[in-house]
């Protein structure tokens, strides 16, 4: 058996009940199992337990015996699963963890990208940033990252739920191809599972209480447990083909002025969300108040705040707890009032945000993918809520790829693929100097500066340095571009230099000018050049140099680079969050808004980091050999030493020595 689970019971930290209850399950080599169950039935928890990730997180009580061959888990959020700043390094991560030689890694990455249908011939450059990809492409890149390790068990947590039909098909066939080529075992969880049925050997069903209620070939299970599965809200094949109105959405009587539903459709990455955001902005720009609109943004996590769900809903809409309770009831979330948003699943967060968007039936409402990742029961409450809101006269625009939801639209707007994704930058902007050369040069200048003997020496050295800097800026357009992007940063540096000089003069016992000026000059001497280095740093480049050239311990270095990569996403996150708070009218003023945004960013970063850690573990970051020792990491690329690096270092040495020796 590749998977053997006996009497597994899991209680997540802080939960009032067991998430998984006495599960016993065996899966043989090469078997493909579809894991079914309503929202909150513990599918993700089971997959995380099988991958070993939940055990190492320490945030759950686990009893029972779980034995599994080596696994690869594809987590729900592909954005949080990316670990490097280029596609190539992201896919190579597992091979690096396994300690493969640099030369063979490139081949491995190439064949993995080929296996998921993203080979070089498709025009996708491996030097691109993963974040610039569409959802479907990103999901396949993450899959490729797992395949390099050749897992014997593939665990897939809703691999296609956020994708349109075409992208979902591409992901499914990539997975099917790997499975048929390797005889690997697979456990796949998905709400809209019908397209998977042909590819799996059997289905396993969990109920709301996390109990395993059925296990066997799908036709047998559906025939025998049909009634129960229907009441659990599983998207059985009959519902996928059924007429949308027949799915339990009640007819609502129009009261007064008729509302409308406008569906915006198109492939993933075609700009549906962008269009919705623009419409929201235009609506506000036309002089409308934020109390006149409802909005479910693309990432519902941005709506979540620092309080429990009930308070969040009532605060955001400035309505009573009672109204908020009604709104939560409308989207089928009665049990979650006191839960904290950070502990909800993505689908649950989406429904909370939806409750906020629909609460008052405001005149204009925009909903971005309201039905992603919902079981049929939840889907029914959400669609009912939308229909009722329409009946109250709201005009509702919905971006969606859910065919059963589109059926409710009065008008369908189709967006074709736009070139916006292809136009994204290929990779990080390259600086003329390597990151390490910049660091070493700064350190050199720093050490020299502390050895300057006199003000005159310091002035000479600073003069020489400035002349060289001006020369470098004149000859190198690349450097000019990098520096001019950061030219606003010179003011704080100059102020810092001035304050060092001024305070050392003011507070000295004899008020001598010369020592104070020397201090200021030497600060300028090593502070100003850091302006030349300030630029977007390629973290793979820096990581390679720290790990290979300086031979620092690889795991802390790699983790730090992941941290730096994540921090780059922060600006986006911050801006989105700030915009959403403005639209919602929940933004405070000045410093207290900055404080709120900082804490919200920290919460978002933490949540993402824990998923990232799980993804890294799945790609062998913690891989140990048979004696329990960590496998020695290798690097997919040789540390590059830039063309101008030697020049930079020797010139820094030159001006440093000049200042030290000048008499």
């Amino acid at each position: 058996m590749t998977i053997s689970v006996r009497h597994l019971t899991v209680r997540l930290f802080g939960a009032g009940r067991d998430t998984l209850s006495d599960i016993t399950l065996e899966v043989g080599q090469g078997e493909r199992v579809l894991l079914l169950g309503p929202s909150g039935s513990g599918k993700s928890t089971l997959l995380q337990t099988l991958s070993g990730g939940l055990q190492s997180m320490g945030s759950a009580e686990i009893s029972g015996v779980v034995t599994v061959a080596n696994t690869g888990l594809l987590v729900q959020n592909p954005e949080d699963a990316t670990v490097a700043d280029t596609i190539f390094r992201d896919v190579a991560f597992g091979a690096e963890s396994a300690g493969m030689p640099t030369l063979s890694i490139a081949n491995l990455v190439e064949s993995a990208l080929d296996a998921v249908g993203l080979a070089a011939e498709t025009g996708l450059s491996p030097a691109r940033q993963p974040q610039s990809l569409s959802g479907g492409e990103l999901q396949r890149v993450c899959l490729a990252g797992l395949l390099t390790l050749g897992p014997r068990v593939l665990l897939l947590d809703e691999p296609t739920s956020a994708l349109d039909a075409d992208s979902a098909g591409a992901v499914r066939s990539a997975i099917a191809e790997y499975l048929s080529a390797t005889d690997a075992t697979a456990v796949i969880s998905e709400h809209r599972f019908t397209p998977w049925l042909a590819a799996v050997d059997r289905v396993v069903v969990l109920n709301q209480r996390g109990e395993l209620i059925a296990n066997g070939p799908h036709d047998e299970v559906f025939a025998k447990h049909g009634e129960e599965l229907r009441s659990l809200g599983l998207w059985l094949p009959e519902f996928e083909t059924a007429e949308a109105r027949s799915l339990g959405v009640s007819e609502v009587k129009q009261a007064g002025k008729a509302g409308r539903i406008i569906a915006v459709v198109g492939p993933s990455g075609s700009g549906k969300s962008t269009r919705l955001n623009l419409e929201v902005e235009e609506f506000l720009a036309a002089g409308n108040q934020s109390t006149q609109l409802g909005w479910l943004p693309q990432n519902p996590a941005h709506v979540m705040g620092r309080t429990h769900v009930l308070e969040l809903v009532s605060q955001t809409c400035q309505r009573s707890f009672r109204d908020a309770q009604d709104a939560l009831h409308l989207v089928g979330l009665d049990d979650y009032e006191m839960a904290h948003p950070t502990e909800l699943s993505g689908g649950e967060q989406r429904r909370v945000a939806l409750a906020i968007a629909l609460l008052e039936a405001r005149p204009r409402i925009w909903l971005d993918e309201p039905t992603v990742g919902l079981d049929l029961n939840a889907w029914r409450s959400v669609v009912n809520a939308i229909e009722q809101t329409k009946a109250k006269g709201s005009i509702i625009t919905i971006a969606t790829h859910d065919p059963q939801l589109i059926a409710f639209a009065d008008e369908v707007v189709e967006i074709r693929h736009s070139p916006s994704v292809a136009a994204m930058p290929e990779s990080v902007r390259e600086h003329p100097f390597s990151p390490l050369a910049g660091i070493l040069a700064s350190v050199l200048l720093m050490v020299a500066a502390f050895l300057f003997a006199s003000l005159k020496a310091a002035m000479v050295a600073l003069g020489a340095e400035l002349a060289l800097a001006v020369f470098a800026l004149v000859v190198s357009p690349k450097l000019r571009a990098a520096v001019s992007a950061h030219s606003g940063l010179i003011l704080p540096t100059v102020l810092g230099v001035a304050s060092v000089g001024f305070s050392n003069w003011l507070l000295s016992s004899q008020h001598l000018l010369e020592p104070a000026l020397l201090l200021a000059t030497r600060t300028a001497f090593f502070g100003l050049p850091s302006m030349l280095m300030a630029a977007e740093v390629s973290t793979s480049w820096l990581g390679d140099q720290l790990g290979q050239t300086l031979r620092l311990s690889p795991r802390p270095v790699v983790a730090a680079m992941v941290g730096l990569n994540r921090a780059k996403l922060l600006r986006n996150n911050w801006q989105t969050q700030a915009r959403i708070r403005k639209v919602f009218g929940t933004a405070k003023r000045g410093l207290s808004e900055i404080g709120s945004l900082t804490v919200l960013s920290l919460i978002a970063a933490t949540r993402g980091a824990q998923t990232t850690a799980l993804a890294m573990e799945n790609r062998g970051f913690d891989l140990r050999d048979s004696s329990g020792k960590l496998v020695r990491r290798t690097w997919a690329e040789q540390a590059r030493w830039g063309k101008l690096d030697a020049a930079l270092l020797s010139l820094s040495l030159l001006v440093g020595v000049l200042g030290v020796l000048w008499r």
């Binding site: 930290f13 950070t342 010179i490 704080p492 050392n504 507070l507 300028a524 941290g563």
Partner: protein, 204 residues
């Protein structure tokens, strides 16, 4: 729940969460360096040692890291990652001396938690650690930034730094972990689970 963790063995989630949060704080520092610090030190012209009251801001990652991860080296790692990002983003006069400051700012915190053998993480210990870190940092600054100050001014400078360290970094950093823990954002960490449990009990 397994509390028998090896002190010297870092889990992946320890390393990654700490790196991500420290980098996030590094960005916050950068914002502080560029937008707040120039203003604050301009006001400080009246009496420069007062600007040392800001010292605690840069020491938050040290306390935050130690209290979150509860392992030796966490404070140092957090400070170095934050300082690296702060410096790479540019716009502060200190350049890579930030790394020296980072190490000094972590030293006191590391020492205090080592003395209690990484068994206790109270707000008092955090404040004490940050205060001692501030002493290290201020001694470094005597050499690097304020060598010309007269002795009495150096004493005032030290007092400002230590108070700021203990209050902003010690108490502030400790409460930051607590705040994240309360909302259930760090349930993978013992510190987070304790804070979350306390918050759950409060609501009941």
């Amino acid at each position: 729940m397994n509390n028998k963790t090896n002190l010297f063995k870092w889990r992946v989630v320890d390393l990654v969460t700490l790196a991500v949060l420290s980098a996030t704080l590094g960005v916050a520092f950068w914002g502080y360096d560029v937008f707040v610090w120039p203003l604050a030190s301009t006001i400080g012209v009246i009496y420069p040692p007062l600007s040392e009251l800001q010292l605690g801001v840069w020491m938050i990652p040290a306390v935050f890291g130690a209290v979150l991860v509860r392992k030796p080296g966490a404070a140092l790692y957090a400070e170095l990652v934050a300082a690296t990002l702060e410096t790479l983003l540019g716009g502060n006069p200190w350049s890579w001396t930030n790394l020296v400051s980072g190490a000094a700012q972590a030293a006191g915190v590391e020492i205090v938690f080592a003395i209690v053998a990484w068994r206790s993480y109270t707000v008092w210990l955090a404040a004490a650690g940050a205060a001692i870190s501030a002493v290290f940092e201020v001694f470094y600054e005597y050499v690097a930034w304020v060598p010309e100050y007269s002795l009495s001014q150096k004493i005032v400078y030290m007092v400002c730094g230590v108070v700021s360290g203990a209050v902003i970094a010690g108490v502030g950093g400790w409460y930051l972990v607590r705040a994240l823990g309360k909302v259930g954002a760090i349930n993978s960490f013992a510190a987070g689970r304790e804070a979350r449990l306390a918050a759950i009990r409060e609501t009941i």
